[in-house]
Symmetry: C2
Amino acid sequence: MNPYYNIDDLLKYGNQALDLIGETYQNLEKERVVPDVEPGFLRQLLPENPPQKGESFEDILNDTKTKILPNLTQWQHPNFYAYFPCNMSSAAIIGDMISLAFNSPGFTWIASPATTELENIVADWIVKMMNLPEKFLLKNSGGGAILASIGISIFYSIHAGKYRKMKELGIDLTDPKSLKFVGYYTSLSHSENQRGLLVKDIPYRRAVPVHWNEKIKNFSIDVQEFREMVEKDISDGLIPFWCGATIGTTPCGSVDPIPEIAEVCKKYGMWLNVDAAWAGGAFVVPELRQEYGAGLEEVDSLTINFAKGTMSGNGSALFFVGDKKVYNESLGGKINPEYLKNKFTEENDITDYKDWQLGLGKRFNSLRLWFVIRKYGVEGLQKNILDKIELTKYFESLVTKSDKFTLVCKRSLNLICFRMIKDKDGNIIPEDKLNEFNRKLLELINLSGHYYLVGSEINGLYFLRFTPGNHNTLNQHIDALWKHIEECALKL
Amino acid sequence: MNPYYNIDDLLKYGNQALDLIGETYQNLEKERVVPDVEPGFLRQLLPENPPQKGESFEDILNDTKTKILPNLTQWQHPNFYAYFPCNMSSAAIIGDMISLAFNSPGFTWIASPATTELENIVADWIVKMMNLPEKFLLKNSGGGAILASIGISIFYSIHAGKYRKMKELGIDLTDPKSLKFVGYYTSLSHSENQRGLLVKDIPYRRAVPVHWNEKIKNFSIDVQEFREMVEKDISDGLIPFWCGATIGTTPCGSVDPIPEIAEVCKKYGMWLNVDAAWAGGAFVVPELRQEYGAGLEEVDSLTINFAKGTMSGNGSALFFVGDKKVYNESLGGKINPEYLKNKFTEENDITDYKDWQLGLGKRFNSLRLWFVIRKYGVEGLQKNILDKIELTKYFESLVTKSDKFTLVCKRSLNLICFRMIKDKDGNIIPEDKLNEFNRKLLELINLSGHYYLVGSEINGLYFLRFTPGNHNTLNQHIDALWKHIEECALKL
């Protein structure tokens, strides 16, 4: 039996690993959400040096059980309400096992035909089940791919946008005009928009401000203001080329006015990327696609993270482009050294996924998504989204019933933003103390490690975010959380 | 039982998935290496639309077995000799199962402490077991991370190099000097070097030519020529800032003269990235570290892919930098919106891996590497490397014994480059027919789909590459391959 590929070992200890996973899940609720450890704790638990001799699977699994798993932040815990939940599923875990087992990176079609084609199919399935614009189907002008992360996808859209603009202007990389490029992002968009522009060395990076919008009861950009920023920049000799907007911002779940932003982008020849990393999962529900997904027909690229509300685990960042020709070209798609040349690439209109990203290697992530979509079906994916919204509405009802707390903005899918406005004695907390008060409240809530929420701040207004998403979260957890929040409030 | 997180399902079908993996491995040898399919084949086997209702795991696993797995290019097949092998291991599969199960992205320390710290520890272990420069230990100036791919790591090194140079020059992104930046890569370096410079919009990109070097019996750059290129560029007003060199090139396994390249880079303030994606795995063997790893002390960053010779599967791209401060800064490390702020990040000298890459989300890949390193130990990893080299030497002996074939260059680890020089009648093939002849030979060898090699071309010289790396490849496979090659040669 091959020492490195021992099938008896695989079956025996793979089975034990499954048991460990199952057991950990079953006990998750009894554990803390955030572990009680200080930086550097793990160095004290593990040897300083790698072992010279091989060790047994028993020992490794046992250390995993006692030293690693209890010290994860438990994103699957029913009381995890921070960031955005990333719910898992048995289908994702099982599909994932097979996806790595044969380690067949599909950088070109021939490097692994089924790896490439299943990604083609899954990307198209997603376009269909979410009623995304037809241009995102691979048979049309665009297409989708599963890339390393949403952040990197946003970066690629910036890159492609700059490439397209330079082509349009007929300039090359030595042209001083390229120092005049200006990119925009709506200011509640994820920090990865800002980071992407930085890493792309775009000299002018503009955060389009947000204001309270009474009509939508949330923060939003003023499109007229955005248009004026763009026009001012043009009159100053700058070259607008890209805009990053968001459907479902992290700070408050707000939805940028995509149709109006798209109009400005179109008029001035800017690439519009819409990041729907979190909220995009809800597009599988037709009424939510309607409510949250206006204007997608006009965007140049779109990101949706199937790791967030769609149970597919990390490595599920969907990136759709409307014009795959210009996108692949922007990444230098024609770089094919001899060892990558093959007749299939030369003779066919196929996808070589190496032309969609930096890096050749690619995990077979589509297999995992294919498991998830098939196992639950479109209806199961819909139900998952709707169930989490129901939980959120329940929390919302508790906030609105309380006179000490208030919603900061309108609920967006499974996100609630709220803050405390009256102290324990029922007195209104003065405006200048509100932020401090709520920061302390969050600290108290998280102190025990049994609940995990994060805070947010918009235009100087601080508040708490609550977003449930894990499958084992029930109304009773929300009741307990609310009781805990009220108790913490009494301590302030 | 939760429909999305059904533990009974997980155990039952997870075990069936393990069985399917084991069974597929056991039958791998009977199957083709490259499937007999045409582009578009999978669309004909799968439904055009995603299912409305959920399906059973039985059906999904069965389709995986009959439609997906047989149509992968079988990178784990004993007769896979193309690109560079990416051998797997039972430890990698088992560790990987647990790494996704709880989906705890460690973008900041607090977002999952054990996720972050295990990556710290594994990166340090690798520095120690490969005797890499001390500066790459996290307690020192640098450190390591597992990034999405080698290609993206190379790109980040280009980015950091430009950032460092701009800082040194005291210029910002609007300065026309930034249009004078010139990057270099040794011309046998992976195409991802070229792509990285392109995506970084570097206006001047220079491939340093290679020549036959009789002393090392392989192709190599002439460092004097490189120095002159740099000096010529400087006298033309350009600003050299980065060089990509390689230990173990894909075309022929050659090793760039790192110490001498580093001298030039140091003199002119260029960031030197060394890509040892493939050959770096061999650094675990002290004599190979000695033979292949000269000059590493002087490099600014280094990439090693543990998916290649180190049995860890895709998602094992190690990236080491000598100066993590400048590296993290270059990626805008200080971008921390409210929802990412936390006292651990503020008060401690910890790693927030979001500052090492574009994209927040990060799979728990270090767990898989930790399983592999522990299960086989340093000695097991060494044995794996040495075993594959032994197989290669056996093939080498067959080539050298034959008068029809010749080695193109000296064997490099487990890579042999060879070509046919005499036709079936024993006549020397004329120089101007050699490439054509060998291209046809490769076509014939691969025609049956039962063997897979790729070709390479350097300075107009075409040849075949042979590189064994899978655990089930034995001398008898190599005998059969050689017999097959000789039979193909007779058909030419």
